[in-house]
Assembly symmetry: C2
Homo-oligomer: 217 residues x 2
Amino acid sequence: MNEKNTISSITYDDIKKDIIFGKLKPSIKLKLDNLKNSYNASLSTIRETLNRLASEGFVKAEEQRGFFVNSFSQDDLIEIANLRVLLECHALELSIKNGDTDWEGNLVASHHKLHLLEKETQKDYKKNREEWKKYDWGFHLALVSNCRSKNLLNLHSILYDKYIRYQMTVTEYRGKEAEEEHKIIFEAALKRDTKLASETLEKHILKGLDHTLTIFK
Amino acid sequence: MNEKNTISSITYDDIKKDIIFGKLKPSIKLKLDNLKNSYNASLSTIRETLNRLASEGFVKAEEQRGFFVNSFSQDDLIEIANLRVLLECHALELSIKNGDTDWEGNLVASHHKLHLLEKETQKDYKKNREEWKKYDWGFHLALVSNCRSKNLLNLHSILYDKYIRYQMTVTEYRGKEAEEEHKIIFEAALKRDTKLASETLEKHILKGLDHTLTIFK
DNA sequence: AATGTAATAAATATATGATATTTTATTATG
DNA sequence: CATAATAAAATATCATATATTTATTACATT
């Protein structure tokens, strides 16, 4: 149920994915005619998609001059990381407070799946990036999913993707350290240790930021 | 310079405004053909606009079933108010910390203009709602404008509009009390009293929430 | 000859109207 | 009264036409 049927939504997913994983590189111009051919959709459909992505901040729309993949900058990355800390830690705290059995079960499952994949990822990061992102997202979403604010969850998911877009350009996997952080956050959340969970999550995001900032050096 | 030339951007502004001020009522279906006629634009242009507004959360898009003005609910309003507190107070604190002369000047000006208009507004709120919103926004923007995070400012402006959409349906003006809060925030910001400014801003938003919640009773 | 400006051509974005597909409403049938 | 078949309405998509921007060329000035 709730399948994505329309060309529009398929195109949206495809282009967004290509931006996040760097197939469509920062700052490049998105020429409508090119996109039309590579994504097999009409101009109107492409424009709808780009307008949506522009609203979310993955694409920059310049009136009558066209669309561009949003550029990278150190400041932008720092802003995004800090906002992610603000929203995700807040959501995590709410989530833990509201914590119920379903949430806990889902959290255990998603951490387990992430943990399994982390081993694979260490072998060949580049190859497994998409998979890794899927399970990392699954875990972080499970953490905050019980915050009872759809508005907050929406904002958070966009911010997560923006953060990850930068991270996906870094060639080395942060690995061991990040896994350890995941584990601490996970266990703290189960124990309802809001403070430890939130503080470790903040560290986790900011250390990821540091790791990613190397691309600007 | 930087004028809004395209039909698309004009239509976007118009429809957004009509949603915020309740001319397009919550939950109603936005039939493309009707909009096409009332806003004098082609179907594709209307669709572009609605896709943008859907991304921002003013419109709900249901695949192959069309577009609807986002519905009202008590929970949604509470979520929005709380998120506005989180983001706006955070931005205010940053803004005050970075506070410079330009920021201060702009703040004085915008508070002055708001103060002048508040007197007018008391006479005939319904008539002056649009004007009031413009100056209230001017003041709140001036407060946070120095936070040095474009990402934060973008999110904040959308949240502000969502909050105000609810408030615009309330017939009575909160008046005196809100004006007093504005004044305290303003003076605290000038004195660089971050704590007082932030705490009063939080109260201000939450009292506005209470006032608006009456529409659900 | 080098540089700046104006005129033209090409590329591109914007906007529209026509067609195809899907959903919703209506009618017919068991 | 429920279900199936049909008709109507609405959405989604596309192909084409118009307007704007960008690139190229020609011309004039120092």
